[in-house]
């Protein structure tokens, strides 16, 4: 039915159109709002929280949720809620920026590989295999010892290892899409390969990629936790959701809530991105227009 409506309404740009449709998608909007809220809270936490994120209270160690500490306290008597909100800064950054790196590297390589000659394609894929098997821990420990453990190192570390998944995914999708007839048609109409790849192939490949990205968000957040244990990324006492879970695990028999709250937080973040992502995909995809 798409055609009918299109023909009859003044034409917005693809994106303009998409934004409008996105705005109409309740879940996508909800997702966006949650992300916005988390971000806001993360930056305002110092304003309204009575505690510092590193403020120890040795008389209130491992206390369950209470009035004073809605989410309880950790094993140094620090307020979990405060740390959770403060930790959002790191975890949002990791969760999102790492994904950007992944996409920026992964999509072009994947797309190129798929549209390149089978020899080049094969070569790139073997390279990807190497990266897959790449001994990342060793590499990261090395980086740490040479460049020290800044948060950028962490983005680099995560991005460097994670892009291959997206690359392979995009390649698979493009290989598949590129056989689709609208592409053949476009080619017949003399469109350049580059144009086709950018205008047709990549957009139509996004569905699964968005899923992949949303799934990479928690993975990145946990990776950050693992990394900060090797001395990369944010240093204690600065909290991050991943490290909160890791540290919480050690005392799970005594204070399960230490794991619960950060896990829920990460869940909400990912869910928001899932909805936002799906919304965006639907919005960008003419065939799904209603």
């Amino acid at each position: 039915m798409a055609i009918a409506i299109e023909a009859t309404r003044p034409h917005h740009s693809l994106w303009g159109d998409a934004i409008i449709r996105l705005k109409r998608n309740r879940f996508a909007v909800a997702g966006a709002i949650i992300i916005f809220l988390i971000t806001m809270l993360a930056f305002l936490v110092s304003v309204f929280s009575p505690y510092r994120f590193d403020q120890q209270d040795l008389n209130a160690i491992l206390q369950g949720p209470s009035k004073a500490h809605p989410f309880g306290t950790d094993d140094l008597g620090r307020d979990v809620l405060t740390r959770l909100l403060y930790g959002a800064r790191t975890s949002l950054a990791v969760g999102i920026f790492a994904q950007f790196i992944v996409l920026i590297i992964g999509i072009p390589i994947g797309a190129f590989s798929a549209s390149a000659s089978s020899r080049v394609d094969n070569f790139i894929m073997r390279f990807v295999d190497v990266i897959y098997a790449f001994p990342d821990i060793l590499f990261i420990i090395l980086i740490r010892s040479i460049l020290g453990g800044s948060i950028y190192m962490m983005f680099l570390a995560i991005g460097l290892v994670a892009w291959v998944n997206v690359a392979r995914l995009i390649r698979g999708q493009v290989l598949f899409q590129k056989q689709r007839d609208f592409v053949i048609a476009a080619r017949a109409m003399g469109a350049s390969e580059r144009y086709i790849t950018i205008k047709h192939l990549i957009p139509n490949s996004l569905g699964p990629v968005i899923v992949a990205v949303t799934f990479n968000i928690p993975r990145a957040i946990f990776a950050e936790a693992a990394l900060s244990y090797i001395g990369i990324g944010i240093k204690p006492p600065t909290p991050s959701w991943g490290t909160m879970i890791r540290d919480g695990y050690d005392v799970i028999f005594a204070a399960p809530y230490l794991v619960l709250f950060p896990a829920v937080a990460i869940g909400m973040l990912m869910l928001s991105f899932t909805f936002l992502g799906d919304g965006l995909r639907d919005a960008l995809d003419p065939r799904l227009r209603r």
Partner: protein, 561 residues
């Protein structure tokens, strides 16, 4: 040696000697066990956990508590330890001494008389040759045994060990010069290069246990697999599923009092939470308690009754690199040492498990001095004053202080605690530098660190395992880069002093010197805090227990309804 932050109620410890203290937290430990006869129906199978696969169970090569736990059940040495960690003869008929002629007047030659009845699990007699073979193997360059250096006092030992580059002839020659000699089947004579009063304790350690040349030359590396793994101890290794579990069965041919247990199972659960779960699911009879959860355990109506806790010969401390400014400033070091509320850490953060440490040598060991280090007791005012004396009346004028640690959950907690203390008490900002463990170890071994966290566990219960090795100039484990000629001189004397009382006096002096210069800020003495099923009776603990609690006296353990 692995850093697990178990601790204990301080008071108990100071007032009571080890045995007593164990007795009062777990009365069964000293009671003889008539239960055996009364409940013969109970299968005598003890299920304990080894937190991972032993690297090797070859006594000569083993170096970790995990491995000792297995070895000590299957092998026995000339000497062993009592529960109070004094020496006792085992395969040897008596403890050599000057009076009984076991030790020559110059304190260099030791003569061990072996019990005639001691046999291997396959029935063969244990002879002095088995010991000679073992010790020479231990010192052979090809084996590259990690504990070999402990036996360098044996005349010729060090040279033989260092002969790796030499040709076979030269080696064989050096081997024959190693002064360990089986005079006859039941007499072993060892001569030292210089007197070493603690040599007997070293001889009580696992690397010096007897070995069967015939078996080792027959099976090579495979000799540590059952059934090749033949020893002279109360148990035999009957099954070893790698990375999974070990089974030891009572040795029917054991020459001494037979163990009450028929079987000793060792699982290999690495994750502390999983281990506790296995214990709660009755798959284990003993379990660690994940650090930090002690309070919850103590609050639990059921398992709180199954707690077993006792002090270990392990001290944890912050070691300054005294050559790195600003830590080359002794007043600053003292200010920092005084600004740490150890009691709060032990009582609050560690739920009262452990004992705040003001001096280096831990309680339960000769050389422990309860009155030492009082000046480092937590005192903010004093700390501030010391900081002023150090030349930093305004703490913000301090150069950046950096603290390195090997990043484990436990260490990360300590580091943040330290950071909080300095900030709250002195207004000093501390930068934490977590590192991956090996990277950290190398960092420290190369003395690149400024201020680092470390712990030291006893190899044998004597100050000479605690002081010269760590504070002697250029000593192997001296990572404070502390150097004090007076200390070195005294240590040199003490090492070879034959009069025990005098010797310990010297060490006490030496420790005082060290503590006065504050190369380290001691934190706490470790306490082991575990759970044991009420059915397990007769556990005897010591400050040097291996991976499995009571492994020095496993033969006395039995199970009841």
């Amino acid at each position: 040696m692995k850093q697990r932050l178990f601790c204990i109620l301080g008071l108990l410890l100071i007032v009571m000697p080890l045995g007593l203290m164990v007795a009062c937290t777990k009365g069964e430990s000293t009671t003889p066990a008539p239960q055996v006869q009364s409940t013969p129906s109970v299968p005598q199978v003890l299920r304990a956990n080894l937190d991972g696969e032993p690297a090797t169970i070859d006594p000569n090569r083993a170096s970790w508590s995990r491995e000792r736990t297995v070895i000590m059940q299957v092998f026995q040495g000339l000497l062993g330890f009592n529960q109070d960690l004094t020496l006792k003869p085992v395969v040897a008929r008596e403890i050599p001494s000057v009076s009984n002629g076991g030790i020559s007047a110059d304190g260099k030659t030791y003569t061990f008389k072996l019990r005639p009845e001691v046999t291997w699990s396959d029935g063969k007699k244990v002879t002095a040759n088995d010991f000679e073979y073992s010790i020479k193997r231990l010192l052979s360059p090809d084996l590259a045994a990690q504990y070999a250096s402990f036996y360098f006092d044996i005349a010729g030992g060090k040279d033989y060990f260092g002969s790796a580059k030499k040709d076979d002839a030269a080696r064989t020659q050096l081997r024959s010069t190693v002064a360990v000699k089986a005079v006859d089947a039941s007499t072993l004579q060892i001569t030292l290069a210089q007197p070493r009063p603690t040599f007997l304790q070293i001889m009580a350690l696992w690397p010096a246990y007897p070995l069967r040349e015939d078996i080792i030359s027959k099976f090579g590396d495979k000799w540590t697999e059952p059934p090749n793994y033949i020893g002279n101890g109360p148990f035999m290794l009957t099954e070893w599923v790698h990375q999974d579990h070990l089974v030891l069965k009572a040795n029917p041919n054991y020459w001494g009092t037979k163990p009450r247990l028929s079987e000793f199972q060792l699982k290999m659960i690495t994750d502390a939470n999983a281990e506790l779960a296995a214990y709660k699911n009755n798959e284990l009879d003993m379990s660690r308690v994940p650090p930090g959860t002690e309070k919850a355990v103590m609050a639990d109506p059921v398992i709180s009754k199954e707690i077993l806790r006792f002090p270990e010969l392990t001290t944890f401390a912050f070691q300054f690199n005294v050559t790195r400014p600003p830590f080359d400033n002794v007043k600053l070091r003292q200010a920092l040492a005084t600004a740490i509320d150890r009691v709060a850490f032990v009582d609050k953060v560690r739920n009262g498990v452990g004992k705040p440490a003001l001096s280096w040598v831990p309680p339960g060991m000769p050389g422990y001095d309860p009155n030492l280090g009082k000046e480092y007791e937590f005192n903010v005012a004093k700390a501030k004053q010391l900081l002023t004396e150090a030349g930093y009346p305004d703490s913000s004028k301090l150069p950046e202080l950096k603290f390195q640690y090997s990043d484990t959950a436990g260490n990360r907690l300590i580091a943040q605690f330290l950071q909080g203390q300095l900030k709250d008490n002195l207004g000093v900002n501390l930068t934490l530098e977590p590192m991956e463990s090996k990277a950290f170890t190398q960092f420290v071994n190369q003395e690149k660190h400024t201020w680092a966290w470390f712990g030291w566990g006893a190899d044998y219960p004597d100050p000479d395992n605690w002081l010269p090795e760590l504070f002697g100039t250029k000593a192997g484990n001296n990572h404070t880069v502390y150097s004090n000629p007076k200390f070195d001189a005294l240590a040199k004397q003490a090492k070879s002093e034959l009069d025990n009382a005098k010797r310990l006096q010297m060490w006490a002096e030496a420790q005082k010197m060290v503590m006065a210069d504050t190369p380290i800020a001691t934190m706490f003495y470790r306490e082991r805090f575990i759970l044991v099923k009420p059915t397990v009776k007769g556990i005897k603990t010591t400050g040097m227990d291996g991976q499995v609690t009571g492994d020095l006296f496993l033969t006395e353990i039995n199970l009841t309804k």
